[in-house]
Symmetry: C2
Subunit: 302 residues, 2 copies
């Protein structure tokens, strides 16, 4: 049992002869000398095991077996062309899908501009954004559902076994408080000083909270309130209930006349943003383009 083999080119040659009914002209169409073309047809007939054409000087026509073979061949050629075209579309960024998983702060702060530009450049590519907390983002990448994730620095090393985390950027955190808050007159704004004031905290699994708690350990923040969403933080600070600390990407949401922001220039409190992806699974062309755009935009911001 030997597996018979033939090439797309041979099939193209076959249909050329079916259509043109003439070896000489079909040979030209395939860009081959006539004898070479003749041999090619003969080889194809040998591989399929049956004469496909009746030929004499006057006329070239299909045998009954050739007539049976023809529709299959045309179908094969259509499918082959289609497969290559699909691949080409994907490569040329005319089609495809990019699935990014990112922290809510990054999703809201960085990605809108990036996605807008990406969509303008590659309108045929479907975009999916999963705005979740770090662990969920990483899980999506691990499952292969997201192409890459943009997360912060508190991912557990164990989670990264088969994944690869590359540092994308480092940002300071920022104090957000009512204007005229006493902290604003501090020369060196430290976390320890901040910890003395009533603080609006995020939920336990939030990466900002985890970073803060790690930085001030073994002390603790003066937490007066624990909320889930950043919008709530804004309102609470605005209402004078307390102060908070937020990452750079959220700052644009705190541009109120009643709220002031100051960067926290402390060496042990930096927000590291990582790109997490499969270690040994390459990105699609579209995903690479997206990542490139993200890096470029980030450079523009800093």
């Amino acid at each position: 049992m030997s597996a018979p083999d033939f090439s797309v080119r041979e099939l193209r040659a076959f249909v050329a002869l079916v259509d043109l009914e003439n070896f000489t002209r079909a040979a030209q169409a395939i860009h081959l000398s006539q004898p070479a073309y003749s041999a090619l047809i003969r080889r194809l007939e040998e591989t399929v095991g049956v004469r496909l054409f009746d030929r004499n000087t006057r006329r070239v026509s299909l045998t009954p077996e050739g007539r049976l073979f023809e529709p299959s061949v045309r179908q094969l050629l259509r499918d082959a062309d289609r497969a290559l075209a699909d691949l080409g579309d994907q490569i040329e960024l005319r089609k495809g899908r990019v699935h990014v998983a990112a922290l809510p702060t990054i999703s809201a702060g960085l990605l809108p501009a990036v996605f807008k530009e990406f969509r303008r450049s590659f309108p045929g590519i479907d975009l999916v954004l999963s705005d979740r907390l770090s662990e969920a983002c990483i899980a999506l990448v691990k499952e292969g559902r997201a192409d890459f994730a943009l997360v912060s620095n508190n991912a557990r090393p164990g989670d990264l076994d088969e994944l690869d985390a590359r540092l994308l950027c480092r940002h300071h955190y920022h104090l957000v408080c009512p204007t005229h808050h006493p902290l604003l007159s501090e020369k060196r704004l430290t976390l320890r000083k901040i910890a003395q004031h009533p603080f609006i905290q995020m939920t336990r699994n939030n990466s900002v909270r985890q970073a803060l708690e790690a930085a001030i350990h073994p002390r603790i923040m003066n937490t007066v309130l624990e909320v889930e969403h950043l919008g709530t933080v804004i309102s609470m600070v605005n209402a004078g209930l307390g102060i908070s600390v937020v990452p750079t990407f959220t700052l644009h949401q705190f541009q109120w006349p009643t709220i002031a922001t100051r960067p926290l220039i402390t060496p042990n409190l930096l927000r590291h943003i990582y790109v997490v992806r499969h270690r040994e699974r390459s990105l699609s062309v579209a995903s690479s383009a997206m990542l490139e755009l993200i890096v470029r935009d980030l450079g523009r911001l800093q």
Copy 2:
């Protein structure tokens, strides 16, 4: 714009690597040395224009583009295998169709036994029999609807331009008459003697009638009745209305105690049976087998 080319073999190599996730084992499956196999995959990637596999020592896995390509490839392989299998079935006489056009006398006298044997040997092949007069048979072949025709000798040469008629056999005609008819005691039975007796004639376009009229020209038969079907001839002879002349293949229908038959050994009255087919269009394997069987059966009869 260059048409990219690849072979079925390359696609088989592709799926082997997808399934086995290991170059060495996939190479064995394809019966190639590992370096040669590696080069083959590389060539395929070059022709499609994108890396299809992520490989390092530990793991081999599809890229996003490879993942897109995979289902297309499997479909292509299925279709290619199917096309070859169909062709093989046709060649091995497991499937197919044979369409024979034949004179009613041949259809009823010769073909039942042949078709029975053919069907026993090749039960997967569909059989079509058009039992018509010569002209209609030849028209079917000319249109390409029938594979070949079995007709008698009065086909016009003009009708045969693109067709090829090969003599299959020659038979005598036979007198059919009531037992004890005076003609039966004739030593040399000639058409001229028959013409004197009341004669049951077939319709004008019947090949037997045309042969008779040509043979006795410029005399004419003593026609008492003109009928369409052979069964009617039988009944009329049986009833004593007249005598008739029929071809060999119909004789089995005249085996009545009241009817006698005698061959007409006259040199100018011979029934030539021809196989008519397209001059430059080969027969399908199944049709050839059928024709071969016909020739063989004919040999057995004589």
